[in-house]
Amino acid sequence: MTIPVALLKKKATFKRDPERVPEDFHEELFRLEEEGEWLVDRVTGPYVEVPTKYGRPKKVPKGHLWHHKSCGQCGHIPGYSTSIFWVMRKLGYDYNDPRDQTSCTAWNYYASATSNAAAQAAVALRNFAAAKETGYFPLIHCGTSYGHYKEVREELILYPELRAEVRKVLAKLGKELVMPEEIVHYSEWFYAMRDEIASEQKRDMKGIAVTVHPACHYYKLVEGDAIYDPDIYGGQRTAIVTGLAEALGAEVRSYSTWFDCCGFGFRHILVQRDFTRSFATMRKIEVMKEEADPDVVLTHDTGCVTTLDKSQFAAKAHGRNVGVPVMSEAQFAALSMGAHPYKVCQLHWHSADYRPLLEKMGIDWEKAWAEFEAEVKRLERGEVEFLTWDDVDA
């Protein structure tokens, strides 16, 4: 039996024990600024206030954002990053896509531990300083970067010796210590902007059944920043992704292993994939299929899209109950706003078969693929050097 999320909402709202509510980090953030320890990069300009786990409102800036890209998205799921940019452009918000940005390097850190707290904090603060220099506010694409940067913020607040060390390193680069007022994940922007996105919807998502995998590093690491909404799951689970999918008219269905991680494992996905494949299929995809039978799995992090998508091929060969497309909610939102499935959402980089989903959405994927191939031919003939934003909307 499938469990529609609407049923879960009817449960009593979950009240948190006030004794266990962590302190708002902002007090320390601004105190340290007053003491001249760092600069706080403030949210200026229009923003949306969203509710977080312990009730504190969080500011999500609407525009003028500095896109802290994700190496896994840009490298292996480029339709993920492209869709984030495309949706922002369509809604008319300006942004900065920097070259003066490094990876957060946390994937490597969680995989190999060949780094340390000072190096990780220096990498984070170098990026924050680079963002501040442009006047744009950082928007973090990767769930792991987001989680790790929150960890870094906590550590820098707690340990003066770490601040001193990082200050010394950044001074060598001619940079000051900068900490943003809020660390904002792109999926929080999509959540905050869900009504604007829905108002630009070109494709109806009614009848599309969705399961959501919430990313561990989004809501388990430094949990207080994550979005929880009393109207979604009675505030018992993070509202991220689900809030957007529902705003677009899709039917979100629950499943019992929603809290489980995807199996990415950081090092496992690269050098020990037997674990990743087993976990992703047996604890996630198969459970979703059995309990919720979704048309698509939506998630909001690099590693989760990769793991849940790529793990299905080998499992299928072993006759397991898999075979459901996986994408980010950014790609899903872009599709709903009329984005091209290949030129924008780049679904040809995905492995699990997404074509039945496109058909259900009323998209002629054969025609769309022919259009993409025609563009690639133009590139091949040297008629154009690159495809532009105008080309992909033509």
């Binding site: 490298g75 494992g265 924008v344 690159f386």
Partner: protein
């Protein structure tokens, strides 16, 4: 699987008798000296909530409870054994932050791994075998995974799409509308100045030095690349 685990690994240390107690104690002290350690471990109720949430515990003979307990009991022998046998099985998902005692077993493991790397422990060398190209990529280019890593022989289990991507890589990258994404050997186009700044960070924080203990060859290559660039920019690390 959990029952089998209980049979396989006991809560008491076994083996590694060839390593002196003093050496094991020195390594444990290094773990405890990490500034994050006091915030990561407050004791342990032995409730097993972390185990219920832990993905690695489902597929390996591994338990975050055992990690937290061994450290809380200051069991020098067992902590050493875990540094050699357990820590690389963790997925670093941090589901164990559910711990009602406020522990962060995954965080304790991060620190134990760092100490294992810093001291060139056999488990660290073994865990990082076959992983060097990733360390090379992240430390030298500033992005961790690149489009050209998608090779069918590296990911045979990911389906035929990997070959399609690899066959069409250059053209498909040019088809991406964001101007920063036309790269094939890095995730995006990183400014040379930015890369120099990253190298300074690796030198100054000792992160580069950590590689020396686990992969001398890789260390030499990285050091050369970085020193050359810093020299060009007139920076002495």
């Amino acid at each position: 699987m959990a029952t089998a685990s209980a049979l396989l690994k006991l809560d008491a240390a076994a083996g590694f008798d060839d390593v002196s107690y003093e050496e094991k104690a020195r390594l444990f002290d290094e773990v405890r000296a990490d500034l994050r350690y006091p915030e990561y471990l407050y004791g342990c109720y032995e409730c097993g909530i972390c185990v219920a949430a832990c993905p690695s515990a489902r597929f390996y003979d591994f338990s975050p409870r055992r990690i937290a307990q061994a450290a809380a009991r200051e069991d020098v022998e067992l902590v050493y054994q875990q540094m050699q046998e357990d820590i690389w099985e963790c997925s670093q998902c941090f589901s164990c932050l559910r711990c009602p005692r406020g522990n962060n077993p995954g965080g304790v493991i991060t620190i134990m791994r760092e100490v294992a790397v810093n001291n060139g422990l056999a488990s660290a060398r073994q865990a990082l075998e076959g992983y060097s190209r990733i360390i090379y990529k992240i430390m030298s280019t500033g992005t961790q995974v690149s489009p050209d890593m998608l090779q069918p022989d590296a990911f045979p289990d990911w389906g035929p799409e990997v070959k399609d991507v690899s066959d069409n890589l250059a053209l498909w990258r040019k088809a991406l509308p964001p101007e920063t994404l036309h790269t094939t050997s890095t995730g995006w186009d990183v400014d040379p100045r930015t890369l120099t700044e990253l190298y300074v960070i690796w030198f100054e924080t000792g992160a580069l030095e950590m590689i020396k203990e686990v992969d001398e060859g890789l260390y030499t290559i990285l050091e050369e690349i970085m020193e050359e660039r810093l020299e060009e920019e007139g920076i002495t690390p």
